[in-house]
Amino acid sequence: MNRSKKLKVAILGSGNIGTDLLVKIMRSDYLECTYFVGRNEESHGIQRAKNLGVRTSTNSIDTLIEHADSYDLVFDATSATGHIIHAPILKALGKMVIDLTPSNIGEMCIPAVNIDSCIHLDNINLVTCGGQASIPLVYAIAQTQKDIQYIEVISSISSKSAGPATRHNLDEYIETTENAIRKFSGCDEVKTIINLNPAEPCIDMQTTIMAIVANPDIVKLQQFLDHTVAYIQKYVPGYQLIMTPTVENGRLIIMVKVKGRGDYLPQYAGNLDIINCAAIAIAEEYAQKKVERGAFI
């Protein structure tokens, strides 16, 4: 595919998430970043975009309103409060939106689970980093087990990978992840725990699922997981199952580790990498669907 046929995307938010997305897009066969929009000229993200030859602006959403013809899809990497303002504006402009904030506006999407039922929607929400890591496993349990009484998700991330917004929004992280577990499992009794570990060198993101299931069918679960994990690894190469389904003290336990790609963010920030990888996977799928429909020249 030549350059002119790539899907034009804009990134809103020049922080760590937005900048890492940009680096990933530069590598994409299907996406081209035509606008990198922030608020602060001095920010590292804006400087990085300039060096990469990407058009930048510090007028945030106003730029996207003014230059609405320069892009088809927007990644919102600002904040939940930011997206509440941006969502109706981008909808009126008829743009596809992938929301990386916990705004709870768009349909929750986990590429390995429900990309096909989301791809036609104009606002897609990426839940949380813990949600991206855990929901495919939760879904695997839901699809293979009967009588699921309870599901719990525990994530440990390195302190350095948790910025001020994450720290301020731990409650929202927990409650959003719990809503997603309920939605994708159909189980009402759920719990989410998050630990920030300051160890140096920084730890990789690790997520554990613990469930109470009447008579666990481990063979069936493992078969399902083999497919799920292989699928996720296509868009998150550093995703690995470190404990296959194990029953201990009445608990069904699965554990994964997420190593980041180390694009803009360091490798230990697997929690940030996985949500960005999911965003790219959705945007690329959308771009390919558009090609199939002949929407590109």
Partner: protein, 338 residues
């Protein structure tokens, strides 16, 4: 006579010792006596605090609501306290309810480097006119300077006291003196100390904290607490009285109460070999019971698990790592010989 504030987390820290299976009957028996002997603050709940009942940490026999509602009815002069760790408990799901029930003292805790995650919980308690303390756990893992910086953040959020926890029972008296004296010099709010006894230092460290300027101490009856237990409350009170401090607690009634509680439900912790290794490796005391169980199941040495947990600098809340480590030790063939 100088007054010291004693806070009693027997029913919270002791919860670890029985895998969070304290019965409501025993809890209420304890609360009634705590009021009678003049315990100033009684802290109750799951070992890891409010909202921590889970497969990861152990499910509580009695729910937070049931526990707090019933304890509230038993306490008049003794304040009802809870321990709250953001990351387990949210304001909306857990803290609001506890405040509605009428909890008096909320101790909002984080790992010793993560004070900023306590901001919203502390502010919420203060906005609702409750007493809120900041708690820094696993304090052996960082220097006095880092503790000061973290405690100052909590103070700026509105914390009315800072409690330093030696969660792993890893500190020696000289460490305690250095940490506490720096905090006392750099904070405008009272400083307290919570000891564990892995290295037999619980009472000595508590006294050292007082010498460094602390004015709040935690102690549990018979030392009933996670791992090797805490500073033994009745011994602590006896020693403090002998030193000329006032605690407001009736020592002789407390001693009778301790005998009675031991006959009823309290198991007196002791320092076993695993506790020593846990303390030397600086691992959270609450790991003792799950390590004991999992080591037995996978036929590996609990000391090896503690060593590896220490190597990985695992913190409270990461109990899932125990199973992963036990499995990998067992796969490497590092089983205990029969």
């Amino acid at each position: 006579m100088k007054h010291l504030l004693i806070s009693d987390p027997t029913l919270r820290d002791g919860s670890h010792a029985v895998q969070h299976q304290l019965s409501l009957e025993n809890i209420l028996f304890y609360a009634e006596y705590a009021e009678k002997v003049g315990i100033p603050i009684l802290e109750v709940g799951h070992g890891n605090g409010l909202g921590a009942s889970s497969l990861q940490l152990g499910q509580s026999l009695v729910s937070d609501s049931e526990l707090l509602e019933n304890c509230r009815l038993k306490l008049t002069n003794t304040k009802l306290g809870i321990h709250v760790i953001p990351g387990f408990a949210t304001i909306h799901k857990d803290l609001k309810n506890a405040l509605d029930i009428g909890v008096d003292v909320i101790r909002v805790a984080s790992h010793c480097t993560e004070a900023d995650i306590t901001k919203r919980h502390i502010e919420y308690c203060r906005q609702h006119d409750r007493e809120a303390y900041g708690v820094l756990m696993m304090s052996h893992m960082v220097s006095a300077a880092v503790l000061v910086e973290q405690a100052q953040k909590m103070e700026s959020y509105g914390a009315q006291a800072i409690i330093i926890m030696d969660s792993a029972g890893a500190l020696l008296p000289s460490d305690v003196y250095e940490k506490i004296s720096n905090l006392v010099q750099n904070l405008n709010i009272p400083v307290g100390f919570h000891a564990h006894n892995n290295l037999g230092m619980a009472i000595a460290n508590s006294l050292e904290a007082i010498r460094a300027g602390a004015t709040i101490l935690d102690g549990t009856l018979r030392g009933f607490g996670a791992g090797a237990g805490n500073a033994q409350l009745e011994v602590l009170v006896a020693v403090l009285h002998k030193m000329g401090f006032d605690t407001g607690i009736d020592l002789y009634q407390l001693l009778d109460f301790a005998d009675l509680a031991e006959r009823t439900f309290i198991t007196t912790p002791h320092i076993n070999s695993v506790s020593v290794i846990s303390g030397l490796n600086g691992v959270f005391s609450g790991f003792a019971k799950p390590v004991e169980r999992i080591a037995k199941e996978y036929n590996v040495d609990p000391k090896d698990i503690f060593f590896e947990l220490g190597q990985r600098k695992v913190i409270a809340g990461q109990e899932d790592f125990i199973l992963e480590i036990a499995l990998s030790l067992s796969q490497k063939g590092l089983n205990i010989s029969e």
